[in-house]
Structure formats: C-alpha cells, structure tokens
C-alpha cells in the first residue's frame, strides 16, 4: 500500500510514460455535403437505357419498399403492395389493376412517370413526402427516356426471391437508410471508412476456406465460444468469457485445428501461461489477442512475434517484461500494445518505440487525481473519509 501522501506523486508520473496519441484535427462533421448520387446518369443522355442496370436500382431503392410483390414480412405478417402497385417484377409493372403504369414510347401517358414527376408538394407525388424527397431530376429523366425508348426490360423479369425475404440475412443493402429513405451521405461515408479494415480482412480471407462444421462441433461443450467474425467470414473470433477457470494451457490444444482461422482471441483472466503461446504462435491470421490478467510472461510474449498480423495485443496485468517485448519489434503491423501493470521498464518501451514508431504503446493509466476533499456533496460514498 502506498502511503497516501505519496499518491499524488505517483500519479504525476503516469502521464510521462503514457503516449498521448496525437489525433489529426477533427474533421468538421457535415463538411462533406451532398454529392449528386447520380453522376453516372448524367453522362449517358442519348445511349439506350439499360433497365436492369439503371432503372431497376432506382426502383429498388426508392419504390419497392412499399411496392413489393405481396409476401410474408419478417414479423410473420402478410405485407401487401401499397395501392396494389407492384414494381419489383416485369409482370407487376406491365399489368397493373391500377391502370397503365408504363406505356411504351409514351412517358407522358405512363402513370409511373406522372407520379414521380409531380411537384414535390403534390400529395399524389411518389415517393410520398413522408418517405423523403422526390426522385432526383436525373433519375426522373432517366425513367422518362427509358419509357420513351420503348420500355425495354431486357432479360429482367423480376427481383430474385422477392417472396422470401424473411429468411434472408441482412446485407449491406438492407442497412438502415437515411431519413429520407435513400442512402444518406452518412451511410456512404460509413461504407468507405472501414475500407482499411475490410482490406485487411479480405487479405486475410484470401484463399481461406471456412472450417467444416464438424471441426467446430468438436469444440461444443468446451470452454471456448467460437464464432465467425460476421457476414459469413471464414475468420473466427474465439473467447472464453464465463469459462476462464477452465481454460489452461492444456485446454488451448483444442484450438490447434482452428489455428489458421482464428483472427481474434480473448483469453483475458484465464489460466493460460507461456506454454499456451506456442499454440497461439501458429495462428498466422491473428489480429487481436487479449491476454490481460493472465500469467503469460517473457517466453510466451517472445513467441508471439510469430503472429505477424497482430494489430492489437493486450498484455495488461501479465508478467511480460523487457525481454519479451523486445521480440515484438518485428510485429510491424501492431497498432495497439497494452503494457500497464507489467514488469516492462520505461527503457524497454523507449527501445520498442524506435522499432514500432506507429504503434500506440500504453504503459500506464492516466487516472485523474482524486477528488478534492469535500467536493461533490451529492452521493458521497458512505463511510468514506
């Protein structure tokens, strides 16, 4: 126990070890506003309109939410097309009870064109105001041209599997759209951002086949929880949360058949030691390894240098020391290394930083100074001095 009067002193030292990671100046949100989402359409004014490639994406994005072939929704209830207008199949578009949706070579006489070209404040305008803005001018013109050119559907006959949406796994396209029903700038940005992450993922996945179900089934009942990292990736995420007492070096042998597939491994609080690291070292696609508060020490950490894909290594509260982390100088992709409450000396951290200048190495917690006595009268801990 540190005498109380030394505490402030001890705390002032922490920031010195800590990497204050300089973040780039924050971008102003919303600085990158509205880019016309139909640039492509502009460039093709005279060319023949391809229904499937050009018109269908508009209908799919803006219309079929309401005008879909009647089907059973995810809630188990029948979902009918609004107004009996079905826009996700050729039959639906060409034969409608409601009238002539599309009259070849006569956009002005086609109901579909009439509805989308009404003024924005007209209550019959489609998509309706509560579903967002009218279609873009370019989109309206494109549909007009398609009709005037003869409303050729090409080989398209309808949306695939329109009647069985309930069982489908949500894909990128199913992600929530902007408030106005169309994909907002935000969504687009978000798609671009994890690019780097996706690239890493794609590289790791290249040539990797998903493990057979029997291999995974063999782990059932064991202390490990194994799951795909999402979206049917063959890469696996392994944890032992809740069963940490059952995970020791011997238990880890069960993961050997998965070694090529594990990209994230959380063994925090478990009973593994250095020996387990020989199994981990064979996980060539490992990007995230959490060994916090385990007995892993220098020899184990040194063995981890074989995991060349490591991005994040958590050694908080382990027995890692200078010798062990020196070996990590070759893991050039390491982004985050957690060394708080280890035996690693400040000198060893300085040396490691020379080899890994980009890596964020956390050696201490920047905990705040304790509260001034008497501050914050509300809710002081009972019995506190």
């Amino acid at each position: 126990m540190i005498p109380r009067f030394l505490l402030p002193l001890a705390l002032t030292f922490f920031p010195a070890f800590l990497v204050a990671q300089d973040k780039p100046a924050p971008e102003k949100p919303g600085a990158e506003k509205k880019e016309g989402q139909d640039k492509k359409d502009k460039e093709k004014s005279a060319a023949k309109v391809d229904f499937q490639k050009e018109v269908w994406p508009i209908l799919e994005k803006r219309c079929v939410e309401c005008h879909e072939t009647p089907h059973t929704g995810p809630d188990g209830k029948m979902k009918k097309a609004k107004g009996g207008v079905v826009l996700d199949s050729k039959d639906g578009i060409t034969t409608s009870k409601r009238g002539k949706l599309v009259v070849a070579k006569n956009a002005a006489g086609s109901m579909i064109y009439e509805s989308i070209s009404l003024p924005a404040d007209d209550e019959d305008r489609m998509p309706p105001a509560k579903k967002g803005d009218p279609l873009a001018k370019e989109q309206i013109e494109l549909i007009q041209r398609w009709i005037d050119q003869g409303a050729d559907f090409g080989s398209w006959t309808g949306k695939a599997k329109a009647t069985d949406k309930a069982g489908d796994k949500p894909t990128e396209g199913d992600k929530p759209k902007g408030k106005d029903g169309k994909e907002s700038d935000k969504d687009k940005k978000a798609k671009d951002k994890p690019k780097e992450k996706e690239n890493t993922q794609a590289l790791l996945e290249a040539g990797l086949k998903a493990l057979p179900a029997t291999t995974l089934a063999a782990l059932q009942g064991g202390p490990f929880s194994v799951a795909s990292i999402g979206d049917n990736s063959p890469l696996l995420e392994v944890t032992c949360v809740g069963r940490t007492d059952d995970v020791d070096d011997a238990a880890l042998a069960a993961l050997a058949p998965l070694a090529e597939h594990v990209t994230s491994l959380d063994l925090g609080h478990s009973r593994v030691t250095d020996e387990a690291c020989t199994v981990i070292a064979r996980m060539s696609r490992l990007t995230t390894l959490d060994l916090r508060q385990t007995a892993v020490g220098n020899h184990g950490v040194a063995a981890l240098a074989a995991c060349s894909q490591l991005r994040s290594l958590n050694l908080f509260g382990t027995k890692a020391g200078d010798y062990g982390i020196a070996a990590l100088s070759s893991t050039k992709k390491l982004e985050n290394l957690y060394l708080w409450q280890t035996d690693v000396s400040p000198g060893a951290v300085v040396r490691l930083r020379e080899s890994l200048p980009e890596t964020r190495i956390v050696v201490a917690a920047e905990l705040p100074e304790p509260m001034a006595e008497g501050a914050g009268g509300n809710g002081r801990r009972r019995g506190a001095k």
Binding site: L11, K23, T244, A365, G376, R380
Partner: protein, 438 residues
C-alpha cells in the same frame, strides 16, 4: 449550515438505495427473478431468429451513464462563452481542439480526445418520466404497453457474452425503470441498488454449508416442479430458471466482479468516493467479466432553482467517475470494445430564471459517446450561438439508440412483435450516426 444547504446536500442515492434494498430484502423475489435463463434455456436468451451480428460491430459492451433530471447543456457539454445565456459558468478548453466544456469538467477535458459530444440532441418530450422512458426504450410512454429498454434489446438480439453473468445490470436505478418490457422475463436487468454493496445475499447463509444448501435447493425443486407442471406459465418457468441462474452465479468465479472492495484504494479514490464513481468502477468490473450492457444512474439534475450551485455540487462526481472510467478502460485495452454513453433526458432552458434556475428544455440538449470505435476529439451537431435551437445535424433520441445498436453490430431493421402483435424495432425509426466512428 442553512436549511437550504441541507436540502442541497441530501444524498438521494443513499435514500433510494435504502428503499430498494429494503424492498428487495423484504419481498425477496425481485433480485433473484432478474437473473435470466438457465443453461438449457440460454439458447432462448438470444432470439433464435435474430439475424447474426453484422461484421462492422466494434462495441462488445455498452456502459450507459444516465443523469436523471435533465442536465443543463449550456453549463456542461455545450457551453456558449460570452453569450447572455451562459450565466456565470466559464468554458474550458479541452484536449480536443475546438471542443469546449463547461468549467465543471476539468478532468473530462483531459479525456476529450476519446469523446464525441453530440450537442444536437432534440426531442419533443419535456416531462421527466416520459422523457426518461423515451431515452431508455426509444418509444413513447403508453398506458397499454411497456417497451423493452435498449439493454434488453441488445441482449435479446446479440446475446450474452458470459453465460454465467446477467447480460444487463442496472446500477442505482429505481424499480420504476423499465428493462425487459414486453420481452420475456429473462431479459430483465439485474438491479444493483448500491454499487458499494454490490450483489447482496450471494454467499451462503451462516451455518449453511454446501451440502445443506444443495439439499435445500433440491427440496425447493421438488416443490417447484409439481407446481410448474400444473401451471407451466411463462413467468413460473422464468422464476425457476432464475433460481438456477442465481445458484450458478453464486458458485462462479465471476461473482467477484460485483465486489468493488477488491479494488486497490488508489483506484477507488481515482473513481471518486461517490455513488456515481463507485457505479462507474463496478461497471468497469462487470464489463471486464463479459456483461454486455451496464447502466449507471445518477440523480438530481433537475435544477429548477440554484442551477449553478447545484451543478457545482452534482458535477464533480460525474467528472471524476467518467474521466476515470475512460482512462481506466483505455489502459486496460477495453475501451476499443466498450462504448461509453453519457445521457440525460433533456437539456435546460437557455434563459436563467429569477431563482437562478433553468427549466426543462427538450428542444436542444447534449449527450456524449466514447470508446467502442468512436473516433473522439470532436463535436457532432451544433446548436445556435445561444444554445436555443439545433442548427446542424439534429439527432433524435432514436438516432442515439440506433447509434448504440449499430456500434454493437445489431441489425436495426429486425422486427420483434409484441404479444399483441405490434411490430417494434431496436431503435424504432432511428438512424445511426455512423460517421462519428473511426
């Protein structure tokens, strides 16, 4: 000390903790009933039809810090220095370039590189119970239905990490806070009245050894089985499961997660010797042991009179607890996967009234997000020069909830039907703020 000071200093937490503790001890059941499903029924804990977690998930856990009463946005997260609405509170520079905080948050200022302040929150609900309900469930309070809270949604759609621990723990909240709503009882949050006391009655009673305890449990099962067979109704089975879960937790090594006394004194002091600070510390311990969703509730922000004196009293524990939580999670490598949210049900009027008070103001208010993939060091959305109107990027309460769900990789369009056949989604029609994530 004047009467005025006495009332100001009243420890609401302690009083409520006493009442809820008493209710729990006397009525027995409520704490146990909160545990959730047995091992056999665990498969049910995640909706079997729920689609798999999406690949973009960053936040494995959520710590939702809820300041009840409506925290004044202008005095805290959205200062307007030099404007007439600012009053006596000074603005502080922070570690994030261009993001200011009210003077009450000097320690949080040091952590702002991790934080995204959302200062364009806006709603139409200006009454406490209704607005608090809306914040936690994403739906309007109605007489005919009780909606599940966001924590219950997250656990239903994404499942629990740790099969031994509850998926949702509510620290310092009252019994009036909805948790499972119309979801099955296993999605009920485990209530912890006082973080200091942790989980009560989790060790064997004096004079009862393991054998004797097992015999008692066996006898209990014999009695229960007969009853459950006759009346195999949902709540009856849930009750039985709750006992099994509780016993499993009692024997688990994860039980220590509930005991903040195991922390070194230096850590306890760094979090602050307050109920909020201790709540934050307990939240960190629980997340470290795989609890998906932890809520910590602090009260007293309804500052109709003496707004500035009251805030000076209320905020140090928040500043201390929150900044320590962020620093501690970060150094443990847990902030990457833990989304920390500081929320309140509405803001307070820009105009200061004759009692030096500010009143309810849902039109513009602020929350903050950190960790779990949040880029940090920035402000999302802007209010006008005096903090009266949201000028750019308005964020609804549902949008905030959608952001939390999105970070957890939960599909926002998944529909759950209430027992009466009405469709509900995790964040209703909310849209996530995806561009505040790195």
């Amino acid at each position: 000390m004047t009467m005025h000071d006495l009332i100001r200093g009243t420890d609401l937490e302690t009083r409520r903790a006493f009442l809820s503790g008493a209710a729990r001890s006397l009525l027995g059941a409520s704490a146990v009933a909160a545990f959730g499903p047995s091992a056999v029924a665990r498969a049910l804990a995640q909706d079997p039809q729920a689609p798999p977690i999406l690949g973009h998930a960053r936040a494995k856990n959520v710590i939702y810090l809820f300041l009840r009463g409506g925290m004044s946005h202008i005095d805290t997260l959205d200062p307007k220095p030099g404007k007439s609405t600012q009053g006596p509170v000074e603005a502080l520079r922070t570690r994030a370039d261009g993001v200011l905080l009210g003077q009450y948050f000097p320690k949080l200022a040091e952590q702002m590189d991790k934080v995204c302040v959302v200062s364009s929150m806006s709603s139409k609900q200006g009454a406490h119970p209704q607005a608090q309900y809306l914040m936690r469930t994403g739906y309007e309070l109605r007489g005919t239905i009780q909606h599940p809270s966001l924590g219950a949604w997250c656990n239903r759609l994404a499942g629990r990490h740790n099969p031994t621990m509850p998926g949702h723990v509510l620290i310092g909240g009252g019994a009036d806070m909805p948790t499972a709503g119309f979801f099955p009882p296993e999605f009920q949050a485990l209530p912890i009245g006082s973080a200091e006391d942790g989980l009560q009655n989790a060790s064997l009673a004096k004079g009862v050894d393991q054998n004797r305890f097992d015999r008692r449990m066996q006898r209990l099962r014999q009695l229960d089985d007969a009853f459950a067979e006759k009346h195999g109704q949902r709540d009856v089975t849930a009750y039985g499961k709750a006992y099994a879960e509780a016993v499993k937790l009692m024997r688990s090594s994860d039980l220590v997660a509930f005991d903040v006394d195991l922390e070194p004194e230096a850590t306890r002091r760094a979090y602050g010797a307050t109920s909020f600070g201790t709540g934050c510390l307990l939240a960190r311990r629980l997340v470290d042991h795989g609890v998906r969703y932890v809520e910590v509730v602090a009260d007293g922000f309804d500052t109709h009179a003496d707004n500035f004196d009251r805030l000076a009293d209320l905020t140090p524990s928040i500043d201390q607890g929150l900044s320590c939580l962020l620093a501690d999670l970060d150094a443990r490598g847990l902030l990457q996967t833990t989304l920390v949210v500081l929320a309140t049900e509405f803001g307070r009027t820009p105009d200061i009234d004759q009692d030096q008070g500010r009143n309810h103001y849902p039109k513009a208010f602020s929350c903050l997000l950190a960790g779990g993939g949040i880029r940090g060091g920035e402000r999302y959305g802007r209010t006008d020069a005096e903090g009266r109107e949201v000028e750019t990027d308005p964020v609804s309460i549902q949008d905030l909830n959608a952001t939390i769900a999105w970070a957890s990789g939960i599909p926002l369009d998944y529909v759950v039907t209430s027992p009466l056949g009405r469709p509900f989604k995790i964040a209703d029609k909310g849209n996530p703020l995806t561009d505040i994530f790195s």
